[in-house]
Symmetry: C2
Subunit: 243 residues, 2 copies
């Protein structure tokens, strides 16, 4: 495993100051919509792929999950996750999601928040998740929206009249995108919405919901700085069932 | 039924000069991909929603469909469809797709090409199609891609360096979009990809494929003018099964 970016001291410190690093799910505006896509967690066995500081793992345990496994590649993030409100029902393991193996027929829910767009190839992970889920189990994830990851120069443009647009290009050209984030170079892997959906189906999932998520008009009223996020969806939320 | 635009003489004449009006499926670059989403047509009963000049209906009959019903709102288009290579296995009926009724459990395939984005509400039509299909029957359609229908001012922009982008805005604001096409004002109805997928699932379909379609690199080499179409997909292709 290459040294993960999140274990780099300055990047980790920067990341730790983000609202969702400090306040967790409550600071993630897409969380209420993502939560609605989740099955009941009472007695469920849950795996969180890219668990970060463990906010979702702790929430799932509070919701009655029997067992929660958080997986992340960053030792620093796992260290903080383990230190926060340890629960006998939560465990954390360090793994790279590329090449991840999981026991078969073992989980009722696989969850992943804003992680899968960092994987060069999602096909092996989708197969691993499908095998690890019980029949009827759920796979619920969010990613940066393909409209967000596609462009050569991602960014909003404001014209003289104050109209905001998101200049889209190379949408159907899948592959790596080098971007800068929190002062570091971060490589994301762009895939179309259709590819995510079709690879889920090919792996043996039944698609349950696809949400092109932007903040609601109410959320924009509360946070006017988010208004441009309605020009194009920042996140794609997907729910699927192991069929 | 309001007088359809396609029955307006100048518009109809303009429309009739388009490559795909003259050469049919062979002139539609998305057709090879759409065709791959179709089930076997041998002995199938087929309905084409927005059949236009009947190119697909004739192709389906040639492929061995037992019975093909073409539906369109334009009497002029149906007149030409009826005049071209009449087959006892093809019939045409004039209906508006809004408020359409079809017999239950009657078709093995419902097909629609570049039509559904003209409907203000797809929910009633999806319910009608679901009821009209036999169990396991297919619904395969193309629409203008939501990325295409979304913007206030749809159009490519070329910067000083020659880079082409598609300035996207108001993606999550669903509703009517007034555009000009062939000298006429045409109202399209923008919906997100997620809405199409989720309404299919709500109507009782299982999603089989979602394709963000742009011309392939090979097609662009043959038709260099299509190069900008790789900046953003012009069409969305969807296949679903009545479950």
């Amino acid at each position: 495993v290459a040294r993960p970016l999140y274990d780099d001291e300055p990047f980790f410190e920067e990341y730790s100051t983000l609202p969702r690093s400090i306040n967790g799910l409550a600071a993630a505006p897409e969380w209420p919509t993502l939560r609605e896509l989740l099955p009941s967690l009472t007695g469920a066995r849950v795996v969180d792929l890219g668990c970060g500081f463990g906010w979702f793992c702790r929430w799932a345990a509070d919701e009655g999950a029997a067992e929660v496994l958080g997986i992340d590649v960053s030792e620093r993030m796992l260290g903080r996750a383990r230190a926060e409100a340890p629960s006998p029902r939560i465990s954390y393991e360090r793994h790279d999601l590329e090449g991840l193996e999981l026991p078969a027929d073992r989980f009722d829910l696989a969850y992943s928040s804003l992680t899968l767009h960092y994987l060069a190839d999602i096909v092996p992970l989708f197969a691993t998740v499908r095998r690890a889920l019980t029949p009827g189990g759920s796979f619920v994830f969010s990613i940066e929206h393909p409209i967000h990851t596609a462009p050569r120069r991602p960014g909003f443009v404001t014209d003289d009249g104050g109209s905001v647009t998101w200049p889209l290009d190379q949408y159907v050209d899948e592959g790596p995108r080098a971007t800068e984030w929190l002062g570091a170079e971060v490589t994301k892997h762009h895939r179309t919405t259709g590819t995510y959906v079709n690879e889920l189906i090919a792996a043996g999932f039944r698609v349950r919901a696809v949400v092109d998520w932007s903040p609601s008009p109410e959320q924009v009223r509360a946070e006017p700085g988010w208004a441009p996020e309605r020009a194009r969806p920042p996140f794609l939320l997907v729910a699927a069932t192991a069929s």
